[in-house]
């Protein structure tokens, strides 16, 4: 059964140095507050999984939390580069970052395989491209009926999955709605999981019968962190802060500016700082 904890306790208990950690959220519901807590607690040597390492992973990488990144698209969506990610890959600052690179289809299928307790995922892909030449974790499997060859990648099975969701009820069930990305798969594929939520409710009220719900017994820790997805968004709560995504390009461009921003906005603050963004607008 999920336990309700502070975000500080949840991160302290669930995430250890050297863990394989997936913080997911496909544009929507990105667990920024949890990422900041990991920075504050100074985790090191993490292998970070994420289809779209955007600002949150730029911050973790820039602060030296990650040893390796497994990903399929690393950019500031609609804006441009992730300067901290590039600085790590191109110049080894603050230290060298190993990368394992895939396509979205590969990562999405690999999470799905992880949630399904399969050792690998197969799909029609990686044809005529160079990624298989630089990533030994891309192989082929043959259909035993037709002889056709398909792409194969290992399932993703993180030590810890971290997501942000809309609501939890008092029994610890978690509700997602809207663009749900690979968040359900991330929790189900992981040994342990942390879910931050906008709010705790007595019950979800009348729901679509097929609503995306993670039952309490599939989640390790729940922390109530209103606004915890900012600058991404929470459908029905607050919108994506596109202006911050644009501003991040300038903030992160040089190392000193980045460190100053982290000091003021992460190290000197706590999860409560996100509440200012968590006002319900829709």
């Amino acid at each position: 059964m999920a336990r309700f904890m502070t975000l500080r306790d949840a991160v302290a208990e669930c995430i250890r140095d050297g863990d394989r950690v997936a913080m997911e959220g496909f544009t929507h519901l990105i667990p920024h507050a949890a990422g900041h807590e990991v920075i504050r607690q100074g985790r090191k040597g993490l292998t970070l999984y994420r289809m779209t390492p955007d600002i949150i992973y730029d911050q973790l990488i820039g602060m030296g939390c990650a040893e390796k990144l497994v990903f399929s698209w690393g950019g500031n969506p609609g804006v441009g580069s992730l300067h901290r990610l590039r600085d790590a890959v191109e110049n080894g600052w603050p230290h060298k970052l190993a990368i394992e690179e895939h396509s979205h289809a590969a990562m999405a299928n690999a999470y799905e395989a992880g949630a399904s307790n399969l050792p690998f995922a197969m799909f029609r892909g990686y044809l005529g491209v160079d990624l298989p030449k630089v990533n030994p974790n891309i192989k082929r499997v043959t259909c035993p009926f037709t002889g056709e060859e398909l792409a194969a990648v290992p399932a993703i099975r993180p030590d810890v999955g971290v997501i942000h969701a809309l609501r939890a009820d008092r029994e610890g069930n978690v509700l997602l709605e809207g663009i749900t990305g690979v968040q359900k798969e991330t929790v189900l594929a992981s040994r342990r999981s942390i879910v931050t939520v906008e709010e705790l409710v007595d019950d979800f009220g009348p729901l679509n019968r097929n609503a995306v719900v993670l039952p309490s017994w599939t989640v390790t820790a729940i922390a109530v962190v209103p606004g915890g997805a900012h600058p991404s968004y929470a459908q029905g709560y607050y919108k994506r802060d596109n202006a911050f995504y644009i501003a991040w390009d300038k903030i992160s461009r040089d190392r000193d500016g980045f460190l100053a921003w982290i000091k003021d906005n992460v190290l000197a603050k706590g999860p409560d700082a996100f509440a200012a963004h968590g006002r319900k607008v829709a």
């Binding site: 609609g78 580069s81 029609r124 005529g128 663009i179 690979v182 919108k239 911050f244």
Partner: protein
Amino acid sequence: MTNHTPTEMMTIAAARALKNDDVCFVGIGAPSAACNLARLTHAPQITLIYESGTLATRPNVLPLSIGDGELCDTALTTVSVPEMFRYWLQGGRITVGFLGGAQIDRFANLNTTVVGPYDAPQVRLPGGGGAPEIATNCGEIFITMAQSPRSFVGELEFITSMGHGRTGRERRAMGVKTKGPSRLMTDLCVFEPDDDTKEMTVVSIHPGVTREKIAENTGWPVRYASNVGETPPPTAQELEVLRDIQARTKKAHGGSR
């Protein structure tokens, strides 16, 4: 002649490639503007799909990311990302994949991964995202990119997504049955693959653009179709709708801080 920018001409030429009954997998940036312009002009029933899971979406402003709330709010329904890549893209239900890229070669292969050696890149680009599988699983591929010597290159250092392959013969050799890149709309002209060689060939030049200008901005000797036309200039309606949505978009994205 209308007063328009080369980028506007590019977006409008790209939009015109789309048909009302297309089911289009939309890349972010230039493709997204073109697809929504098509939807707001000549193709009101077009089905737009973004890889974030939104099916048949009708945004009023252009999304900054592929998963803005606007896309979900205006969609018929939204599915998980694994389902999007399994049932919808791989399922063969998309007629057109619309891509952009950082670099392209004469066979419309794209590079969005690295400039320089993979292990010690001069420039680390974002990576492939959905493109590698969009390129082979959609019925055909449209590409839109601004031309420059740095982006239209003689030889790609890294193929992120396959166009017609290194020699133009790879798709058939691999048994890939989809068409691949069938149209490339730039800020200067429109390319289509030669029937035999699959090399991207200019079929139409935008108003006011010269062959010299195209040559200066293309890293390989450009081939022209036997019958090259002039791209019709933007209509007043096309320009108005495009500028309207871009104004709405700028207001929406810049206004929250």
